[in-house]
């Protein structure tokens, strides 16, 4: 398969994640869609690292994807702690009801 096929898959995943992150009401669903977007970026980095130099693998893309995974893990941990403490105070997981900063 060529580079383009992987990039098309990653674009579709990114747009699905973007749509979900902007339209979902449940905050856990928003986090899940953001994880889908991060995975799409991982696919782009890894596929470029295979196809940029013919017959060889450029490992910079792999290292970038690894750091994206690290940041995604840290983000998921902190986000879920925020959800739990928010649910304890406001008893809601609906992003449209968390509107203290809205004007």
């Amino acid at each position: 398969m060529g580079l383009e096929a992987y990039l098309v898959v990653a674009s579709l995943l990114f747009c699905i994640g973007l749509f979900g992150a902007l339209t979902k009401r449940n905050i856990v669903m928003i986090l899940m869609c953001i994880e889908i977007m991060l995975t799409a970026v991982d696919i782009v980095a890894v596929s470029f690292s295979k196809y940029l130099v013919p017959d060889q693998i450029l490992l910079t893309g792999h290292v970038f994807a690894m750091f994206i995974i690290v940041v995604a893990a840290a983000e998921a941990g902190v986000a879920l702690a925020i959800f739990i403490s928010l649910y304890r105070r406001r008893a809601t997981a609906d992003a449209t009801e968390i509107d203290l900063l809205k004007w």
């Binding site: 383009e4 992987y6 898959v9 674009s11 579709l12 995943l13 747009c15 699905i16 994640g17 749509f19 979900g20 902007l22 339209t23 979902k24 856990v28 669903m29 986090l31 899940m32 994880e35 889908i36 995975t39 991982d42 696919i43 890894v46 596929s47 470029f48 295979k50 196809y51 940029l52 130099v53 013919p54 017959d55 060889q56 693998i57 450029l58 490992l59 910079t60 792999h62 290292v63 750091f67 995974i69 690290v70 940041v71 995604a72 893990a73 840290a74 983000e75 998921a76 941990g77 902190v78 879920l80 702690a81 925020i82 959800f83 739990i84 403490s85 649910y87 809601t92 997981a93 449209t96």
Partner: protein, 177 residues
């Protein structure tokens, strides 16, 4: 041939599972579809010769992040209300479709991504960042991560500090007062 078949299987399942995450009305089943999506992405990494990253994807995303997400779904008892949309579905859907079409048009044009094959361009790449396609990547990535010249040692240490800060922050945030 086998690689093509594997690519199509993994690609179609990944995109289908991601669509199911957005569409399915039951939150818990959406989380299960997310796990399927991550698992199939690990398969895509295998077809790209990224063996270490495929393992990491299964360990971190399928093993850890999905469990955290399911835990959060169970803790916040909002499941009965289903997987609802807000009022922005039509405009955001239009933007997402237009963006997807634009990205695919830009990506399919192969001239945008000419591969580096002239010796001058190749000489700018540090030699330990390049390995041949039939070798396993794990030891080479380790060498690249921990080498002090052209390596990612500082970034690795910063990532460790970030993880520790995130762990302490999560503990402080979720503590009972």
């Amino acid at each position: 041939m086998g690689l093509h078949l594997a690519f199509w299987l993994f690609a179609i399942t990944t995109v289908g599972a991601a669509l199911a995450v957005v569409i399915i009305n039951d939150l818990f089943r959406a989380a299960l579809c997310l796990i399927l999506c991550f698992f199939m992405t690990a398969g895509l990494f295998v077809t790209l010769n990224a063996d270490l990253l495929a393992g990491l994807q299964v360990l971190v995303y399928v093993g850890a992040i999905s469990m955290l997400i399911m835990f959060a779904i169970v803790m916040t008892r909002d499941m009965e209300q289903g997987n609802r949309f807000n009022k922005m579905v039509v405009p955001v859907g239009l933007v997402a479709v237009v963006l997807a079409i634009a990205m695919i048009i830009a990506v399919v044009d192969a001239d945008n991504f000419a591969s580096l094959d002239t010796t001058e361009e190749l000489s700018n790449i540090p030699s330990d960042a390049l390995i041949s396609e039939d070798k396993p990547t794990t030891s080479a990535i380790g060498q690249l991560l921990f080498s002090e010249d052209n390596g990612y040692l500082l970034v690795f240490e910063v990532a460790g500090v970030l993880l520790m800060a995130a762990a302490i922050g999560a503990l402080v945030l979720s503590r009972e007062r």
